[in-house]
Amino acid sequence: MPKKLKSKTQKARRTRQETKPQSLTPNLQFMGTGLSSDDLKKGKVCTTYWIGDTKYAWDRGIAIGKYLEGMKHGKILGVECHKCGRKMVPPRIFCEWCFKPIDNWIELFDTGTVNTFSLCYVTWDMQRVKNPIIPAVIEIDGASKGMGIMHLLGEIDPKKVHIGMKVKAVWKSEKEREGAITDIKYWKPVK
C-alpha cells in the first residue's frame, strides 16, 4: 500500500492565499463568447453540421505484415538489432536508435509481465460502460526489458490486477485467426 505523504514544512499551504498585485496592471480586456450546449440545441446561433465520410485501407507494411502473419500461426514475432542488441516488439525493419536495417527475426513467448494497466469505464465518445475494459502495456517474454505492446487483460477480477503480474495470451482458435492483433483475444493471469 502506498504511504501517505506527510508535509515536512510546519504549515502545508493547502489553502489559497490572497496575494496583492505588485505593480499597476494594465486593464486587460479579454474577448471570447462562450456558448452553452443549450444555446446550440435551441439554435441561438447559426451553425453548420458536417458528417465526414472517411474510409481508409491502411497497409500493414513489411514488418507489421510479418508480425500479423505470425499471429495467425499463434506466434509473437520480434526482431533483433545487430548493433544495439535490442530485441524489439512490435517488430520494425529498421532500428530507430541505430538507424540500421534489421532482418533478424526472432520468435518470442506468448507470455509477459504487466508493465502498467488501467480500468477504463468510458468509450472514446465518453459513453459509460459497466464492466471496465482493462488495457495494459505487457512486456513480452523473450524481448529486451521494457519492450511492451498494448493489449487487453481478461479472465480476471479488475480489483486483482496489479503491475508486475505474469500474464499469458489467450488466442482465438486457429480457424478464427485472420492475421490481426485481435487474434489474441486478451491476456489472462498465470499462476
Binding site: 453540421y49 465526414g52 472517411t54 481508409y56 465518445d125
Partner: protein, 159 residues
Amino acid sequence: MAMKERLTKADEAKPWYGELPVESLYTAGIAGEKFFRSIQEKGVFLGSKCHKCNMVYVPPKIYCEQDFEKLEDYVEVADCGSLESFTCVHIGLDGKRLLEPMIVGLINLDGASTSIVHMLGETTVEELCMGMRVCAVFKPKNKREGAITDILYFKPTKQ
C-alpha cells in the same frame, strides 16, 4: 536501398480497413452570425467595411486582413452582381459522373470588394459569360435557416 519485399498481387497487401468518426459542428462566428441572420430575416447581404482601406468584405469579417483594423461598420450590399468566373462540374465527390452537371460561379456583389462562390441556376453554360449580371434567388422566408443554402442559386438577369 531497394525495397526488401515486393508485392506482385494487389490483394496480397491485406490492408486493415477502418474509418475515422469525423463530424463537425461549426459556428458561424461573430460576423457570420450577422451575415446569415440578415439573409434569413431580410434577404439582404451584409458586408463589413474597413474605413482605413475602404475594403468591403462579403461575407463580413470582424477584422481587415490587410491592416488588422477592427471592423464594426456593417453595410448592406446588393443581392445582384457580376459573374467573375464560372465552371461546370460533371464529377461528384465520389468520383462518379453527375446526372445533371452543376454550374458554380464566382460572384462579385455590387458594393462588395470581394467575391463569393455559389451555384448558378435557371441557365445553361452556353448562356453564361464573364461579367454578366446575376441575382440571388432566395428560399422562401419560412424555409430559411441562417445558412449559405438559404440562397438557392444566382440567376442571370437582363441588364
